[in-house]
């Protein structure tokens, strides 16, 4: 009942024209950027972020959520028709989608992918509605010690997702934490690391950093990379078939496997949709109903992968809304909309601004209907966007990045920050140094510092509360285990070898 109330409340929040328009534009843009070569949702969301300044918070969030979800659908188009995944998470769709298209069944493959993604999106939105509130009331019991440990646990998980690059990821996370401290300290009014530059008194703003790291760096890569060549013979065959739309429901097992993995992995920080789609794909191979071998056009491969892919969005938003911890770069930038409007995501948001929570839930639901409707109407011309030269797109992103970062504060200081971080983003990418942890560190840094100082201030500098509070202790143990697990495994293997 509470869920229905929340949903109807959210729907009424969305019924204003500017918010509905933002949702529609976001969904359309998302589909387009999913198809456009080289442009992903991260770049688009980063470039759009400054333009959400002048919008109502829910309008801005709906716009960015539209892009986020739309790109999942759009990515399938290029995976199936030109064997070029729009997103890393669409690779698995390509394995069976492209062979199906080569067999003259492009319309069936596209319909399968869109309907599976639709089911995934709706299920993840429902999951968000059902899980977020109880999780928030649980997180509401968190004190400063639990907040610190939750952020540290998220940081370690994010670092571990980079496997052998764990130290590099932690280094960038530390840099993000540090950059979040620049400016006037809110507790003591001391100027920290401003180097006498007046603009830096208010800190290093998140918006131009995101525009630079994700927008401008990507644009620089696009303009300096050769134009990719692809077999475009199947683009003309783009379309949809109504039978294909109903086909995913013939494979409920594959669908459930995708839904389960997509939602569960979406909640985990930094693991991302790419892993959930590949796990769902390989899981669907076991006990598949359709006799076609996987990799040669098995529809269950598409169903599992697309269900997993799109069911990530709801899971990823759960941690943002309930804990204020973003799981990846995109949700970190979406969280930027909250920050820009002075809204603090976390358990208190559910009581202070329920219209935002309900609005996000309703947005996630409605966006999927809007996207499916837009795809039905435009799939044929949409597929032709794959012909657009990515170098032209790179130039457009640079110009948009300029005006976007400038208009965020009508200041060239913002443009300079965006340009500097754009160059940094390119250098980091060339050096194989991850940049996503930097933005996550910047987003979580303020809360981490505030909670740490609050805890230490209350306990007179004692670290005891970290081990005396059960939830904090549990998270501390989890951190230690995650950090030392490889060493423990290596040690047990060595001991076993000696015994043998």
């Amino acid at each position: 009942m509470e869920f229905i109330d929340a949903l109807s409340g959210g729907l009424s929040s969305l019924s204003t024209l500017p918010i509905a328009l933002a949702l529609l534009v976001g969904a359309a843009l998302g589909i387009v950027v999913g198809v456009l070569p080289g442009v992903g949702p991260g770049v688009t969301i980063a470039v759009l972020l400054p333009f959400t300044y002048g919008m109502a918070p829910l309008g801005g969030i709906s716009l960015l959520l539209g892009v986020y979800c739309g790109a999942f659908y759009g990515g399938a188009v290029t995976s199936i028709l030109i064997r070029t995944p729009g997103e890393a998470s669409s690779i698995m769709t390509m394995f069976d989608g492209y062979p199906l298209a080569r067999q003259g069944q492009a319309q069936r493959a596209l319909s399968l992918a869109f309907m599976s993604a639709f089911v995934g999106g709706i299920a993840s939105a429902l999951l968000l509605g059902l899980v977020a509130r109880p999780m928030a009331s649980f997180a509401g019991k968190f004190g400063a010690a639990e907040n610190v440990m939750a952020i540290l646990l998220a940081a370690v998980c994010i670092g571990k997702a980079y496997r052998r690059q764990f130290p590099a990821a932690m280094m960038m996370m530390g840099l993000g934490f540090f950059l979040a401290t620049v400016g006037i300290d809110p507790n003591s009014n001391e100027q920290r690391y401003t180097f006498g530059i007046p603009g830096m008194l208010s800190g290093i703003p998140l918006v131009p950093v995101a525009v630079g790291l994700f927008g401008m760096a990507q644009a620089l890569v696009m303009v300096s990379s050769p134009v990719p060549q692809f077999d475009a013979s199947l683009i003309q065959s783009a379309g949809l078939s109504w039978r294909g739309f109903l086909e995913p429901f013939r494979y409920p097992k594959a669908m459930l496997k995708g839904l389960f993995l997509g939602s569960a992995i979406g909640v985990l920080p930094a693991v991302g949709a790419a892993l959930s789609t590949s796990l769902a794909y390989f899981w669907a191979q076991k006990g598949a109903k359709d006799p076609t071998p996987f990799g040669q056009g098995n529809p269950e491969g598409i169903v599992a992968a697309e269900c997993a892919n799109n069911s990530n969005s709801g899971g990823a938003m759960i941690t943002v809304l309930t804990l204020g911890i973003p799981g990846d770069a995109i949700t970190a930038i979406i969280m930027g909309v909250f920050v820009v409007h002075g809204i603090v995501p976390g358990p208190s948001l559910f009581t202070d601004r329920p219209e935002i929570i309900n609005g996000v839930l309703a947005s996630l639901l409605i966006i999927n209907f809007v996207i499916l409707g837009l795809l039905i109407l435009t799939v044929k011309p949409l597929a032709r966007l794959a012909y657009v030269n990515p170098r032209i797109l790179g130039l457009v992103i640079l110009v948009l990045g300029f005006v976007g970062s400038y208009s965020a504060a009508n200041s060239m200081y913002y443009v300079i920050i965006a340009a500097v971080f754009g160059v940094f983003g390119l250098v980091f990418a060339r050096g194989n140094i991850p940049t996503i942890p930097l933005i996550l560190g910047m987003v979580m840094g303020d809360t981490l510092e505030a909670s740490l100082r609050q805890l230490l201030g209350r306990s007179d500098g004692s670290l005891e509360p970290f081990v005396t509070r059960p939830m904090s202790l549990a998270m501390l143990i989890a951190i230690v285990l995650i950090l030392f697990w490889p060493f423990l495994m290596a040690l047990t293997k060595r001991v076993q070898r000696r015994k043998d």
Binding site: F177, F178, E190, Y193, A217, V221, S224, T435
Partner: protein, 163 residues
């Protein structure tokens, strides 16, 4: 001699870059007393405004050094959502960065429309588009951007010589 050469060859630019970042982090950590104004000399360590940034800088320096040590062997980059710049031509990227920097400098003096038009034309020339495409792209895009941002969204770029 061979050992020395192989050791030297392992000091690739990315390791040097990581070392520079770690070194800068250590320097900022060391000079924090001057970089935080006024520095809270009398505050307890746990109440100090320097605690968190100094901890963060330590993470940067320490993790950076471990990464440098790990990179003495070639590492295969795994599947991730990070930006892949392996196909990018550094020279093209640098020329575009220079063009963008000049564009940033030009806007306050020459106005948004004229600067954007010139930047797009130069960008198209750098990317070796043919003259017709370049002209069409530069004029259409700059006029559209100017109409949308300056005329409709009222973004004010200051008083300049041109529009």
């Amino acid at each position: 001699m061979t050992t020395l050469q192989s050791r030297r060859s392992k000091w690739t630019w990315d390791r040097l870059f990581l070392f520079a970042l770690s070194f800068i982090a250590v320097c900022i950590w060391y000079f924090s007393t001057q970089l935080i104004q006024p520095y809270p000399h009398n505050a307890n360590w746990f109440e100090s405004a320097a605690l968190f940034p100094k901890l963060s800088l330590l993470i940067v320096a320490f993790a950076g050094l471990i990464e440098i040590y790990q990179r003495r062997h070639q590492m295969a980059s795994g599947e991730s959502e990070e930006l892949d710049s392996s196909a990018a031509n550094v020279q093209d990227a640098i020329s575009m960065v220079v063009a963008f920097a000049l564009y940033m400098l030009a806007v306050p003096f020459m106005g948004y429309l004229v600067s954007t038009l010139i930047f797009l034309a130069v960008g198209c020339w750098l990317l070796q588009f043919d003259r017709r495409t370049s002209l069409l792209l530069a004029i259409t895009l700059s006029v559209t951007m100017w109409l949308v941002f300056v005329k409709i969204l009222k973004v004010y770029f200051g008083h300049a010589w041109f529009i």
